[in-house]
Symmetry: C2
């Protein structure tokens, strides 16, 4: 019988596992939130991932459960583990991806370089942090944020009063995370795969370009990352993967500071936008690697197949019609562009696809990826 992987969540990350699953002969099954999701081709169930019975029923028919996102509640994860079902990444690891305060505290224990941070429960504590950090800081809700949501730059202690008020109503109580505003020259991302049995493989560190808090572009490897920078980034990724006992793909978002340090920004325990280049630019894509890792199979070679790869996100998409209306124009001009679509209706700011280009000259590769992706904007 084929190896069976169950993915909770039917978004584009689950969708992009379909291609390597078909090639390896892995029976990929998806629990989708609703009909017509990105990964609907592989959907074998539709239901609420917050409902333990729904997830358990789905999970009973697979060899391992993994995720399209990190939002499955700990109580649901516990139900799976109690039923003897393999879950990767496991609940313990996922906790660090679900709560940024828990993550910051654990990274501190591991001695990982990170921005100054504190847990604050009111405007007064926030103001005290601001006073210690040149009057500006980043406030984050510890749970539920993504793509810039739940993140706010503040310069007075009262600017997070609405979030403090929400916390006061939350039975779990809790605090906000405040972090120093880092002077960075650029953002990087380090991906690492880890098997349950312990083996790890690091991808080359990449540069990520964010616009309005959303990843717009990735350059792989990060320019000028040879030697020490590459090694330091890989070491950080591997230390976190091992220290947090992550299984599957881990992405560590990093700031490269003006004083040449790398500081950990965010973590993701799943395939990640910063690794989409690997579909066309690496021997083993992050999606195949994630399947191998969660199945506890030997990890594939994460080496690049070409000197450079550039990924450009398609954000929003055409206001009239669908992405494939633009295929003719984009493909005519850019026969070397690899177009990936997510089967999602266009909507301003929404990630609806991406374009990868690989080659030997970074200027050419970046130009072609941006130009090809631009055909899908309005």
């Amino acid at each position: 019988m084929a190896l069976r992987v169950g993915v909770v969540g039917g978004g584009q990350l689950a969708r992009m596992m379909i291609a390597p699953a078909v090639e390896l002969g892995v029976d990929l099954r998806v629990l989708a939130e609703e009909d017509g999701m990105s990964a609907s081709l592989a959907a074998t169930a539709v239901g609420d991932y917050r409902d333990a019975e729904t997830v358990l029923a789905f999970a009973r028919d697979v060899d391992v459960v993994t995720f399209d996102h990190e939002h499955v509640p700990q109580s649901v994860l516990a139900t799976l583990v109690d039923a003897g079902i393999a879950v990767h990444p496991g609940p313990h690891a996922l906790r660090f991806a679900q709560d940024k305060l828990v993550m910051r505290a654990r990274l501190q224990e591991l001695g990982m370089p990170q921005p100054d941070w504190a847990a604050v429960t009111d405007a007064e504590q926030l103001q005290a942090f601001l006073d210690d950090h040149r009057g500006r800081a980043v406030v984050k809700t510890p749970r539920g944020g993504y793509d810039g949501k739940g993140v706010r730059v503040v310069s007075t202690g009262t600017e997070a009063d609405d979030w403090f008020a929400t916390l006061a109503e939350d039975a779990r109580g809790g605090a906000l995370l405040v972090e120093e505003l880092v002077d960075f020259t650029r953002e990087l991302a380090q991906q690492v795969a880890r098997r349950p049995s312990g083996a790890v493989r690091a991808y080359p560190v990449v540069e990520t370009v964010q616009r309005d808090g959303v990843c717009a572009e990735v350059i792989a490897p990060a320019p000028h990352s040879g030697g020490r920078l590459e090694d330091v980034a890989a070491r950080i990724g591997i230390t976190i993967a091992e220290g947090l006992e992550v299984t599957g793909m881990l992405a560590v978002e990093l700031f490269e500071t003006t004083d040449e340090r790398l500081l950990v920004n965010e973590l993701a325990m799943r395939p990640h936008n910063s690794g989409h280049w690997s579909q066309d630019g690496a021997v083993t894509s992050q999606f195949e690697q994630h399947l191998r890792a969660v199945l506890d199979l030997p990890l594939g070679d994460p080496s690049p197949v070409s000197e450079w790869a550039v990924m450009v996100n398609v954000l929003g998409g055409p206001t009239n019609g669908s992405l494939d209306d633009r295929f003719d124009a984009a493909m005519t001009e850019h026969p070397g562009a690899k177009i990936h679509t997510y089967g999602k209706a266009p909507r301003p700011g929404r990630k609806v696809g991406h374009v990868n280009v690989v080659g030997g000259n970074l200027d050419d590769v970046a130009y072609e990826a941006r130009a090809a992706a631009s055909f899908f904007d309005d």
Copy 2:
């Protein structure tokens, strides 16, 4: 609405169209011969491709019909065309892939280099051909052969009597094809994609290694094929694609003779075993290219992403268990090997998967591909 491609036939060629279809957002639908075929994930219908009603019902819901094989009868194809359905490759082109005598006659008209050949209807005519060609020749049934079936090397005129007898019972009548036994140094294959609107793109010519009439291994590009050989092969492929009005992928199997000529051996009008390397070794794989071509989209760049790619078929597979029982061993030793499985039960001589490896050194690449594939044999 997504672009819809209907594939008649549920074998591994249809299966390998799934990955690029998902990435491009093409709605791929397969008419499978039975349940549990290689391409079952995309199967939307099960039925007999020789039944016009079955195929027509399947075809009404797609934008274009294409094929996993060339065996759909002309009468069924005519029904589709009469109903106004786009069919690529079209019936006229497919005729040349369905009947080797028709193919030989047309290639002769086009001035293509090919072995000496003749249509023979009895042992006497066959003996006359043998007498003119040093006493040995290859006899082929014009229809229905593949992977060495329907092909026989003979040295006397009576060695094809059983086939002549079968022909005599065939209401359509007809002849056998006899071809000179070519002194070749190696076999090559040239792939070309052609859109209905006329544009063509040639892949690099590759070397194919056959064992017992079945493709065992492909080296891309063919060693020492730079310059004139590459150009001549591409020109032959393009001339045939245009002359036969092929749409989609065309593979031209070639002999390279001891006197340095290229002679056309066989044609295939679909993705072909000689192009499986392109999944991991070319900017645009033959499977994506076939989808683009039959949808009349602009063709992708067929350039290699690496200096060398080697594909090794997995023939037969493990006598005990399934291919994925061998993943652990194969992936441990060969993290850079790309394993492709067809979801077919192992059976002696059956193509059940293949392994691709790419890299800069041919010796290393070929060694790794062969070694990784060998884990799946017994």
